[in-house]
Symmetry: C2
Subunit: 342 residues, 2 copies
């Protein structure tokens, strides 16, 4: 099955180097048409496919990218991956996907992908606010870009959503509806996205003259169970919030579960906003008000950026912050009139 260049050469009665030229080089090459024809048919007959290893060894590039995600089970990452993979494929690149489970020890493995020259570059969706891997990558001069999560101190090579704007949109929406007791179930505070959304939430409250209540912020981890627990906690507060801004949709789903267990209704008893606009959030009951993030587009942009880096062209935009928008749906409404509830 696996025909080599030499075998094709043998069949065509020419040297391997000639075959190489014909098969690869510019079509405007000085080769007798007849020879070219012979080579082409021989290659076809033998079903010739170049050996990737030999190619990489010689050309020093693998045409393979590596992508790291913290948890492929969180639907935002398949969303991003989809965009990455599609643009990579269109450019003749494949992508090795690695799931880190937010574990730092696995991260060093990925630098290996690079040092072993298994991939040409890396797309990281795993960046931590203080990331040794990224630091190593930077000083190693390796090609990489960050997607979704940024990293403090890195002002280029990233594609992320406008987390601040999104959080502001969400919080202001609640304020405009008349809410004053607005809680936030945040993302993990070792992630840039968690931090940014929290910060914008605080600032937004401040700008509207609403005092910040630290009891109204519960740190989550972007997953349902924690969202549920956090919501339970908030409901047990002496003065429970009338609205909650969740750092992502998964958290919001968990929160919805907690509300239901308490027999509370959305949006009558409490308003809820999510973040990401996962494909099925509009099918929830009630449909979730959330911040739309164009995930595949972000993936595509990140991949394009990495490909630029690999091509050696100066980065077009040095970093990209993708705009987001609020999807107003059924999970938010004005607070109940009867004042302080409970």
């Amino acid at each position: 099955m696996a025909a080599t260049l030499r075998q094709v050469a043998g069949r065509a009665g020419v040297d391997a180097s000639t075959v190489s030229r014909v098969l690869r080089a510019d079509p405007a090459l000085a080769v007798r048409p007849e020879t070219r024809e012979r080579i082409l048919t021989a290659a076809r007959e033998l079903n010739y496919r170049p050996n990737a290893a030999a190619l990489s060894l010689k050309l020093r590039q693998t045409h393979t990218l590596g992508m790291l995600v913290p948890d492929i089970t969180n639907p935002i990452f398949p969303g991003i991956f989809r965009g990455v993979e599609a643009t990579a494929a269109a450019a003749g690149y494949r992508v090795i996907l690695v799931n880190t489970d937010e574990a730092r020890d696995r991260e060093s493995l990925f630098v290996d992908l690079l040092t072993e020259k298994r991939v040409d570059g890396l797309i990281l969706a795993t960046a931590l606010t203080d990331d040794k891997t990224v630091a190593a990558l930077r000083e190693g001069g390796y090609p990489f870009v960050l997607v979704n999560r940024r990293m403090p101190g890195l002002n280029e090579r990233y594609v992320s959503a406008d987390d601040e704007a999104g959080a502001r949109l969400a919080t202001e929406h609640l304020i405009r509806l008349g809410h004053r007791r607005i809680a936030h179930i945040s993302g993990p505070l070792f992630t840039d996205t968690g931090l940014r959304r929290l910060k914008a939430y605080r600032e937004c409250l401040h700008n509207h003259g609403i005092p910040f209540e630290s009891a109204y912020v519960v740190e989550g981890d972007f997953r349902e169970p924690t969202g549920q627990a956090a919501m339970q906690h908030l409901l047990e507060l002496p003065q429970p919030p009338t609205a909650v801004f969740c750092a992502n949709d998964l958290t919001a789903i968990g929160a919805m579960s907690a509300l239901r267990q308490r027999g509370l209704r959305l949006p009558e008893d409490l308003s809820l906003v999510g973040f990401n606009d996962l494909p099925w959030t509009e099918h929830l009951q009630p449909p979730l008000t959330t911040v739309h993030v164009p995930l595949p587009e972000m993936g595509a942009l990140a991949c394009t950026m990495l490909l630029q880096l690999l091509a050696g062209v100066p980065l077009q935009p040095v970093a990209i912050v993708v705009p987001v928008r609020l999807m107003e749906r059924g999970s938010t409404a004005p607070p109940r009139r009867e004042g302080d509830g409970r």
Copy 2:
């Protein structure tokens, strides 16, 4: 950064072949301890990492697997991938993930992964009932396994859920609750999973003496929008069903949306069962009754099977059908008493 074997050899004052032996071969090798020490430290100091391309070329294996999914955005595939990737990583393998978007033309690309010797084997989650790619793989003698979807005529090399049992569990559950007018929104009928679930549904009705109504079967595509449309269609029937078995959870979510739009309530007005038990289906309102499928485990088993194939050991179990179980939750209940509804 990229130190070669030869450079390590130079620093240690030995030949490259000696370095190779020390770094790779059995620890019980005939090498003077002092020499070994010198080599080891030289390698460490230079941060030596073997070049993957050179290794593949020489050893004829890449330690890389390829996995093909039809749509990474459907959460069952990240679920399976998670299991695949974890076991692959544990065995020192990486995995290239390709999203085919159910497009056949992209499939040939993956055979290339193999013929270009870019991967050692393939895991296909994309199999169609009549699949040219799989056929090509078989006659080429390439290492591959199927996961989730099987293929008629292939009685080995697959890991799939027990689709028949699952569909039977779902249908019988509805029958036991007292439903007689039970519809099915199927998967695409060019997939084995779609076909199998439909077949078991029919047989189950038959076994319970319920006549099969072809109007009660609508072909879907495993996605929300189609589930929604299909449900709308079913509700417009002169004699609408009182229960619907959906071929997967995404379809069920779409169906729930359609019900809501009509002002119908679950499970009072209609019972709904899904398939897969995606992580957040229990957080739906009402929580979805569905068939649990252990996705990561299936991925892990498939990967193990492929690794066995690569190791040349005879396949342990030649194929694996993973048991499933019904998760009875809030979306199913006995039909309304008042007879024929509407």
